[in-house]
């Protein structure tokens, strides 16, 4: 059993927790993920490591409520326990030979992008961050990003905070204005990453994407997380989750991500109390 040491709601749909898991905390690196089960009958869900404290033995997770399991996870209080918590899984984000990096995060993907940005800052790199959200209410981790970025641009779809528009707009501007990035790292919705890659490709800037496909065991056994990368079958759990963005087949990944859309919808309705009551 793994104790929830602290819990904080970052916005109405996104929650942050620190979980006591000393073995995982000891090894975790930015870019890796964990798998957890909320209770003994629960499903296994992968979540990317959003931070860790090796001394305290805790691992930070940030999740968005999307289905039944994340709803049950969100209902857990500080001091309560999670049934299972295993990791760190996958490969850490590569940092070699990078002096100047642009981190592009979207929505809850920013939670995953943050430790990556912090890692580069720690290594003494120049870090530019562009983070995007649907609106001001969904904005998370502004202060944390400010602290580790030499330049931070915040975008909202509706213009309710920061600049109005999508993340690729300031990215393209920066590149056209002569910013020489060794690497662009993007983490967020598949459609956003696809367009970030489309933006950087004409300039030939190496772009890493962090894939988060459907997974079960997360240790290289089930093959559920397979992707096509450079025409070959790859497994996000052991070969990734980071891949060269120019080589990922995004359309296929997007199609596969919707395999259980119907089931998730049912689960959500099954779990959400609002659906159980007669709403007037």
């Amino acid at each position: 059993m793994f104790k929830i040491v602290s819990r904080r709601e970052l916005n109405p749909t996104v929650t942050m927790m620190d979980i006591y898991a000393p073995l995982v905390a000891k090894k975790a690196e930015a870019g890796q993920f964990i798998i957890l089960r909320v209770d003994s009958e629960g499903e296994r869900i992968p979540l990317t490591v959003a931070g860790f404290d090796r001394k305290a033995g805790t691992v930070k997770i940030i999740f968005q409520i999307v289905g039944g399991t994340t709803m049950r996870l969100n209902a857990k209080k500080e001091g309560e326990y999670l049934e299972d918590f295993v990791g760190p899984l996958g490969c850490a984000t590569k940092t070699e030979n990078i002096k100047k990096v642009c981190i592009v995060g979207g929505g809850v993907g920013c939670a995953i992008a943050l430790p990556v940005a912090q890692k580069f800052k720690e290594l003494g790199c120049v870090v530019h961050s562009i983070i995007g959200f649907r609106n001001k209410d969904l904005l998370i981790l502004e202060k944390e990003f400010k602290d580790c970025s030499d330049k931070l641009t915040i975008m909202t779809d509706d213009g309710s905070y920061g600049r109005q528009g999508v993340v690729t707009v300031p990215l393209k501007e920066a590149i056209e204005n002569g910013e020489k990035y060794d690497e662009v790292i993007t983490i967020g919705p598949l459609i956003m990453m696809k367009y970030v890659v489309a933006t950087t490709k004409p300039f030939g800037i190496h772009t890493t994407v962090s894939m988060n496909p459907i997974m079960i065991d997360g240790t290289g056994m089930c093959g559920g997380c397979r992707l096509t990368v450079a025409g070959k079958t790859k497994f996000a759990c052991v070969d990734g989750p980071d891949f060269n963005g120019f080589e990922v087949d995004f359309d296929e990944a997007m199609a596969r991500a919707s395999s259980y859309a119907e089931f998730e919808q049912r689960e959500r309705e099954h779990c959400c109390n609002l659906f159980k009551k007669e709403v007037k």
Binding site: C222, A255, S259, A261
Partner: protein, 473 residues
């Protein structure tokens, strides 16, 4: 008394009934049936059956105990060689092992050794009230990686010799392929749980949620005071054929399909784990795993389930009993067929059509058998222009696995072959790294439960010899 020429039939659920439930197919011998079957054993002098068993169970001896109705005595006899009798009695391919060597089998059907083993183990599990004799500790620590058949066997044998054994398991539940792979109707999970509980009584610790190669490395295990390590991490990444359409929605690896159904209990109506409950299913492959996947799909409500296999019924690598059970349940065998493409739904006029990207069929090409390959099995030769499409909404790929890369990637000095399997000395399980032994699918690639158990047993013996020698110095 004349010898009954045939094995006593083991009671099973009616095929039409069992094809729709997840309860165990065979219900097992009664005491009377077991004694009657035991009477068929000639108790011959040369005991060829023992040679046929990868863990060399004292077969005539335990059968003699059954004749005397000393069922606990029979259990103790089996336990001298096997840590998992209730499992082996159910999943071993006896027809190619012990029973294939049975003297009675020359003239008649061999003795139903597997069925008797299963009876004895089940009898013990229901009736045994006493405590196991916990061996005196010798103070030496051994780590076992993976709690599948090889790991459990190795751990059991070492614990009985007094070693302090800790098993590290990556998943949340102990049992490896016995819990994530083999379905409930063939091996009830309660039985695996009982076998693991028995090991714990012998002092074995099981640490779940530890991925060796990630959470801990083998070198760190040595630093923590373990004096030897056994790697039984099992099979790894599923193989795919590399044909078009394998990424469509509704294409599973057998590992994923079975893990969802078994470990994650998607077969239960109220499960939180989604699984496609397809109407028409094609399973590609002909091994035990393919049979398990096909029969699971049937039980999840499929109307038509096809086994697509490129050779003929003769070459099917699955256990005979599983093939027979599958046929009885109505699984259709599309033999001498090789898949060339998986076809998906595509509505070019409506990109938002929710059916887009889901499987609608599998295109197969007919084959005929040609010259034997290096293993002596006749090679399938495709017949040009013979393609046709089988309408299915789910395809399950069951064509084997390649070893898991996690341990190899994080263990300096551990040599692997070109397929990624750990290289070992066959008679000991010794690897290229001092103090590290390995066995099971991590070494051989996908094989059987009993072969993995045999490897675990061999390694346990070698580890004991190695540590005894080492600690003398």
């Amino acid at each position: 008394m004349a010898i009954q020429p045939k094995k006593h039939i083991m009671p099973v659920q009616e095929p039409s009934v069992r094809a729709r439930n997840f309860k165990e197919v065979a219900t097992g011998y009664t005491e009377e049936l077991a004694v009657a079957e035991a009477q068929r054993c000639l108790n011959c002098k040369n005991r060829p059956c023992v040679e046929g068993c990868p863990v060399n169970i004292f077969i005539p001896e335990f059968i003699s105990k059954i004749k005397e109705k000393d069922f606990e005595g029979a259990y103790r006899t089996i336990s001298l060689s096997s840590s998992l009798p209730a499992v082996c009695g159910r999943v071993c391919p006896q027809e190619t092992q012990c029973e294939s060597k049975c003297t009675l089998g020359i003239k008649f059907e061999p003795v139903g050794i597997g069925r008797l083993e299963r009876f004895v183990a089940d009898y013990h599990n229901v009736n045994f009230q006493g405590e196991v004799e916990v061996p005196v500790s010798n103070g030496h620590k051994v780590a076992v990686i993976g709690s599948g058949p090889s790991g459990l066997t190795c751990a059991g044998d070492l614990a009985k010799k007094g070693y302090k054994v800790t098993i590290f398991e990556a998943l949340h539940l102990a049992g490896g392929v016995l819990v994530y792979g083999i379905p409930e109707f063939r091996l009830p999970k309660e039985i695996v749980k009982k076998e693991v509980e028995t090991l714990k009584k012998y002092g074995v610790d099981v640490e779940t949620n530890v991925v060796v190669g990630k959470t801990l490395t083998i070198d760190e295990l040595f630093e923590e005071g373990y004096e030897a390590v056994f790697v039984g991490s099992g099979a790894g990444l599923p193989r795919f054929m590399g044909i078009p359409g394998e990424s469509l929605k509704g294409v599973y690896s057998a590992n994923e399909f079975l893990t969802r159904a078994n470990l994650m209990k998607a077969y239960k109506e109220d499960s939180e784990t989604p699984i496609m409950r397809a109407k028409n299913v094609a399973v590609v492959g002909g091994g035990n795993v393919a049979m398990d996947a096909a029969r699971t799909a049937l039980r999840l409500g499929a109307e038509n389930v096809y086994i697509v296999y490129r050779r003929s019924m003769e070459e099917l690598p699955a256990r005979k009993e599983e093939v027979e059970h599958a046929e009885e349940e109505g699984i259709k065998f599309e033999i001498l067929r090789n898949p060339v493409e998986i076809i998906g739904y595509n509505n070019p006029n409506d990109k938002k059509d929710f059916k887009n990207g889901f499987v609608t069929g599998i295109k197969v090409r007919k084959c005929e058998l040609g010259e034997p390959d290096e293993k002596g099995r006749r090679r399938p030769v495709e017949i040009e222009g013979s393609e046709y499409v089988i309408d299915v909404d789910c395809v399950i790929m069951s064509i084997g696995t390649s070893p898991n890369p996690l341990i190899k990637n994080t263990t300096a000095g551990l040599e692997v072959n070109s397929h990624g399997g750990i290289i070992v000395e066959e008679s000991t399980g010794k690897t290229s790294k001092t103090g590290v032994y390995a066995g099971g699918d991590a070494v051989t690639g996908a094989a059987t439960v009993i072969l993995a158990m045999g490897a675990g047993k061999t390694a346990a013996k070698a580890i004991d010899e190695y540590l005894t020698e080492k600690n003398k110095k």
